[in-house]
């Protein structure tokens, strides 16, 4: 986008075509998380904390590899460990890196009442602008993935930025940089989708995972973080990944029909009492009647 001012489309007295003309750049970015090659090392978590300047949070122990139950306002990226028993009785340890999904159709943005507190960039990144956040927490109600986290100290809501500060400078997100197995990839949405589908095909054909597939849910018009899952038919097994995420109907009802019915109702009410006054005027006090009764002079 910023290159638009330097991209040459016509050159005076130039023999031959304009260099670089016809180049079609895709702005939509995407993070690919291949859960089948994640080893749960948590390097991505550390990289996230380091880049964003947050301290490592205290861990808890609940007889699993899970170091803490969920992400927090200053811990945006957490691997969810889930012991999963397959149909044949064998055990699998499912590991899924949990963070903001950067929905194409973001519920947080739909629910937010504060001007400019949530923006969606042309590259698909959904970013909270804490300077404009009023701390109402409506984004929490709009998110189908349980991502926005309220900071009681700041009284504002925080989440993964997909390292927009790095991406806008041509770097990949910090978590991608740290991954030792190559289970994390970053690129354009088209490229990542192709890579994910290739990997899913490989899992189906060669690795004995007939239900392997790509998680890019259509209910939110796709996401800018996509997963390769061993079993795409059961995303819930990966620490509560919703099967069919969408903006909650309550939020849709509130922001669309209810708002317009309410606005029209309020305007009709104000106009209605004004018209009533023009037609019928004020109520008249019966002074004459009382005077004739001698009750007032």
């Amino acid at each position: 986008m910023s290159q638009a001012s330097t991209e040459i489309i016509r050159i005076s007295a130039h023999a031959g075509p304009v260099p670089g003309a016809g180049i079609d750049r895709e702005f939509q970015v995407c993070k690919l998380v291949d859960t089948t090659t994640c080893i749960g090392c948590k390097a991505c978590e550390v990289a996230c904390l380091e880049w964003n300047g947050y301290p490592f949070s205290e861990t808890t122990f609940a007889n699993t590899y899970q170091t803490m139950p969920e992400t927090t306002w200053n811990y945006w990226n957490l691997i969810k460990f889930n012991e999963h028993e397959r149909a044949d009785g064998s055990l699998m340890l499912l590991m899924r890196k949990d963070q903001c999904m950067h929905c194409e159709d973001p519920g947080c943005l739909a629910a937010c009442p504060a001007d400019g507190a949530i923006v969606q960039y042309a590259n698909g990144i959904v970013d909270f602008q804490e300077a404009h956040c009023i701390g109402c927490g409506y984004c929490i109600s709009g998110c189908p993935f349980n991502i926005p986290r309220f900071s009681p100290a700041a009284r504002k809501v925080f989440k993964c930025t997909l390292c927009n500060d790095r991406v806008s400078q041509g770097l990949e997100p910090a978590c991608i940089k740290a991954c030792p197995t190559g289970c994390l990839h970053f690129g354009t949405k088209t490229e990542m989708k192709e890579l994910a589908e290739t990997r899913a095909q490989q899992l189906r054909d060669q690795s004995g995972f007939p239900d392997a597939g790509v998680y890019d849910p259509a209910g939110v018009s796709g996401t800018h973080v996509i997963y390769v899952l061993h079993d795409a038919k059961n995303p819930e097994a990966y620490g509560g990944l919703p099967k069919d995420p969408h903006i909650p109907w309550a939020v849709q009802l509130w922001k669309k029909p209810l708002k317009w019915i309410g606005n029209l109702g309020i305007i009709a009410g104000v106009v209605g009492v004004f018209v009533h006054y023009l037609r019928f005027g004020p109520k008249v006090v019966r002074e004459d009647e009382l005077r004739s009764h001698g009750e007032i002079k």
Partner: protein, 218 residues
């Protein structure tokens, strides 16, 4: 109620006592603040209201606290007026004559007590909606403390809070219109407290007649 000297020495009638006026305006001022800040969060076109009232962050922070003030005022109103807001057998006839009341054909409307059935509707409408707004508002106040598996509560509150507010706005528009433009003297009654005898006899005939009977008995 009969202990108060409702028939004033200056020939006017005491409509609302100082306590009643004070509580009314505690509710009135807090409601208007809640309405304005609420409208700012309701529509992007009205977001400027929150800017004018300090800042959007301040409006969000104060809205629930002023809501508590409003609820206290509503509770005080309940303690003062609930006994006088009970439905009587005459109310049904009044509602059947509502068309005459709207068209200002007041001679064809059954005479009203201290509060006419429309005022009773206003009172109970605000009372029950205040409770609904409190319950849904508590959830919206602390959205981060609603567990993910109880998320339906948050989503229900997101819908119920504005619906309940819209009902109070309907009552509020009619209340302000009638109290200022339609019934001249009503606004003064809730500021200074008194009305003329003619006003009392016209709008609350049964109440006024009862006051006359009470004072004659003394």
């Amino acid at each position: 109620m009969s202990r108060e000297p409702y028939l004033l020495p200056n020939g006017r009638v005491l409509r609302y006592t100082f306590r009643e006026r004070l509580v009314h305006w505690l509710a009135g001022v807090s409601y208007v603040y809640l309405l304005l800040t609420g409208l700012a969060f309701w529509s992007p076109w009205l977001f400027w209201i929150a800017v004018v009232l300090g800042s959007p962050t301040i409006s969000r922070a104060f809205h629930p606290w002023i809501g508590i003030v409003f609820l206290i005022a509503v509770c005080l109103m309940y303690s003062m007026w609930a006994a006088q807001m009970g439905e009587t057998s005459a109310d049904k006839a009044w509602w059947q004559a509502i068309g005459h009341y709207i068209r200002n054909e007041d001679r064809q409307v059954p005479s009203a007590d201290r509060f006419n059935p429309g005022q009773k509707l206003l009172f109970w409408g605000f009372f029950w909606n205040a409770i609904v707004l409190l319950l849904s508002g508590l959830i919206l106040w602390f959205p981060q403390s609603i567990p993910w598996n109880l998320r339906f509560l948050h989503l229900a509150a997101v819908l119920i809070h504005p619906i309940s507010t819209l009902l109070t706005i309907a009552l509020f528009i009619i209340h302000v219109y009638m109290g200022t433009a339609m019934e001249r003297g009503a606004f003064g009654s809730v500021i200074r407290g008194d009305v003329s005898r003619a006003w009392a006899d016209t709008h609350h005939h049964s109440w006024y007649q009862q006051l006359l009977r009470d004072s004659a008995r003394k």
